[in-house]
């Protein structure tokens, strides 16, 4: 490293000094806000610690408890997986369909774009409160409309079987956020490809499968990773609407972590939970990334 420095010209050295100086806030931030917390979480996860007393080293006990005798871990993992499995595919497919509609060259489309994007910018708390009222079993809009067509609506957030799907429906309401990103991908597809395909006699359906979808796979890939991470981190809805209920049906993983850490102050065990979620998210990301070679189309 020193020899590297010695072999540089004065100008190069000056440049390097300025560069490092410019980066220094980020480097300090990296140590404080990334390196330290991840290492510390790993250490704390091997201890029993209630914040009041100093941490006591217990080895892998937290992990043993997590994997062998913690029903809450199992149910929170189940609820989160179900939520991801339910909301992620729907959001990806519906987002693409909405983007295809928004991509039509028709006057006034900008207004629609603005409208569909609104749910994606509103806070999770406001959205949750709005939807508690919207899905009110007695006087909410949805059940009223269902009543008019002669259907008895479910109890939504307050029904054991409907609570989780209700949260998923609510998250799909924010599909405009995904649609905007697809839209950017769609607009990057060169028009001449469609023109050439049309001359060759390819119909709309064929053009979608042969041009649009393959060229959109990089966007789809990006979207899949973003939405995956996001879906695993579902929290606010459980906190504000259901408190994890009924009967732990919406007891999502991060909510469990929050209660363990900041209500029960089982910081050691909560650290193990946090690390587990990190590994799951990272694992899923790496898996998607690894398999992307098979289905993501890259130019060149």
């Amino acid at each position: 490293m020193l020899s590297l420095w010695r072999n540089m010209t004065t100008q190069e050295r000056r440049d390097a000094k300025t560069g490092y100086l410019a980066l220094s806030p980020w480097m300090v931030g990296f140590v404080i806000f990334y390196a330290f917390p991840i290492l510390a979480t790993f250490y704390f996860s091997l201890t029993q610690w209630t914040l009041v007393d100093p941490p006591v080293w217990i080895g892998l006990d937290n992990y043993v408890r997590m994997f062998t005798r913690d029903p809450l871990f199992v149910s929170s993992l189940k609820a989160t997986t179900l939520f991801v499995a339910l909301s992620l595919p729907l959001k990806l497919v519906l987002g693409l369909m909405l983007a295809l509609l928004l991509n039509l060259k028709i006057p006034g489309m900008n207004i629609f774009r603005t409208v569909f994007f609104i749910p994606a910018v509103i806070s999770g708390v406001a959205v949750s409160l709005m939807w508690i009222w919207f899905l009110n079993p007695d006087t909410g809009v949805v059940n009223t409309l269902l009543h008019y067509v002669g259907v008895q609506g479910p109890y939504w957030f307050w029904d054991l079987n409907w609570a989780l799907p209700s949260v998923a429906i609510m998250s799909i309401w924010k599909v405009g956020g995904a649609a905007i990103i697809y839209l950017a991908g769609l607009q990057n597809i060169p028009a001449h490809l469609y023109e050439a395909a049309e001359i060759d006699g390819a119909g709309k359906w064929r053009r979608f499968w042969r041009i649009t979808l393959p060229l959109l796979t990089p966007t789809l890939f990006f979207q899949l990773i973003i939405e995956l991470i996001d879906a695993f981190k579902i929290f606010t809805e459980a906190f504000v609407i259901t408190k994890g209920g009924p009967l732990k049906a919406t007891y999502f993983f991060l909510y469990y972590f929050y209660e363990e850490a900041f209500r029960n102050f089982n910081m050691g065990y909560a650290s193990a939970l946090a690390l587990f979620l990190l590994v799951v998210i990272m694992g899923c990301t790496v898996f998607v990334y690894r398999t992307s070679g098979r289905w993501v189309y890259y130019e060149n």
Binding site: L23, W26, F33, W173, A184, T236
Partner: protein
């Protein structure tokens, strides 16, 4: 003569098919509009219902069948909501947090991005990759260690935990700003250097003024994220009076008997700043986001 006839008939055919195509397109447009309007109404229904409820009389809230548009809109509900809930206070708290975070981003992000965009030095690419990889780290992993650290420093129940990180550069913004700065021609730097400007002079006089689209993204995204943030404030703040609007709103539920007409009014008021920022900013965001390949 025959050729002329033929030409005429072809012309007629063309005209006819043109008219047919136009008619088809018109029908197609009408169909698309119908679908879009239906979907838009469907999407706006929860917001409409919130607005409608916020203008009702208490006895109308649970009336059956529900009234879609209240017959006598109670605008006074909003004054009552502001009187009953500390809405103004909470929104002010959020505004303070937003402002402090925006200032932090505007100071730190251009400086850090300048280092990545304009200088060559050993390990630059490794550091850049490291920076990018931190974008993937979910925030929850920080909560326990940072809580411990802030407690040691006596910063729990102050705004510092919610403000400090912004001053060390958000990786997404650094990435965006770096990409944006790379699109600014280096000739401009060279010209300024010949005029005697130093490295920092070039940044502040030449580059930053040209980065306005990317800086707009920093401002708008920070506004939306900080205004909507929920998990960190509930962990790092204890005092009811210091809550931002997101947390305050969530706790109205347990704290007050549920008066849905006031409650929906408060929720609506809480999202108005976001909507205003979004409407004004959406045009300017496109240029800023285009540099990383995302445009709207």
């Amino acid at each position: 003569m025959r050729i002329d006839d033929q030409a005429l008939s072809i012309q007629q055919q063309l005209r006819r098919s043109g008219a047919r195509r136009r008619r088809q397109r018109l029908v197609g447009h009408a169909l698309v509009y119908a679908v879009m309007i239906f979907l838009a109404l469907l999407f706006m229904l929860p917001i409409f219902w919130m607005a409608s409820t916020s203008l009702k009389l208490p006895r109308e809230i649970f009336a059956w069948p529900p009234e879609w548009i209240p017959s006598s809109p109670q605008w006074g509900n909003y004054a009552e909501a502001f009187g009953k809930y500390p809405l103004g206070r909470y929104m002010l708290n959020s505004a303070i947090l937003v402002a402090a975070n925006i200032i932090g981003g505007l100071i730190s992000v251009p400086i850090i991005a300048y280092g990545f965009a304009r200088f060559e030095f050993p390990f630059k690419h490794v550091l850049f990759l490291l920076m990018l990889s931190t974008m993937m780290v979910p925030g929850h992993i920080k909560l326990i260690p940072m809580f411990w650290l802030y407690q040691k420093l006596g910063l729990i129940d102050t705004y510092w935990p919610l403000i400090l990180p912004a001053y060390f550069g958000n990786p997404f913004f650094i990435f965006l700003m770096t990409q944006f700065m790379r699109t600014i021609p280096r000739e401009l730097d060279d010209a300024a250097r010949i005029d005697g400007a130093g490295a920092w002079g070039i940044l502040f006089r030449i580059i930053i003024p040209l980065c306005r689209p990317a800086l707009t993204v920093v401002v708008v995204f920070t506004f939306v994220w900080v205004w909507n943030d929920f998990l960190e404030p509930i962990i790092f703040l204890r005092d009811w009076d210091s809550y931002p609007i997101s947390v305050g709103l969530a706790f109205f539920q347990g704290r007050y008997s549920v008066e849905w007409h006031l409650f929906m009014g408060a929720t609506l008021v809480s999202i108005i700043p976001i909507l205003v920022v979004y409407f004004f900013a959406q045009k300017h965001l496109i240029g800023g986001l285009a540099s990383i390949g995302i445009k709207g």
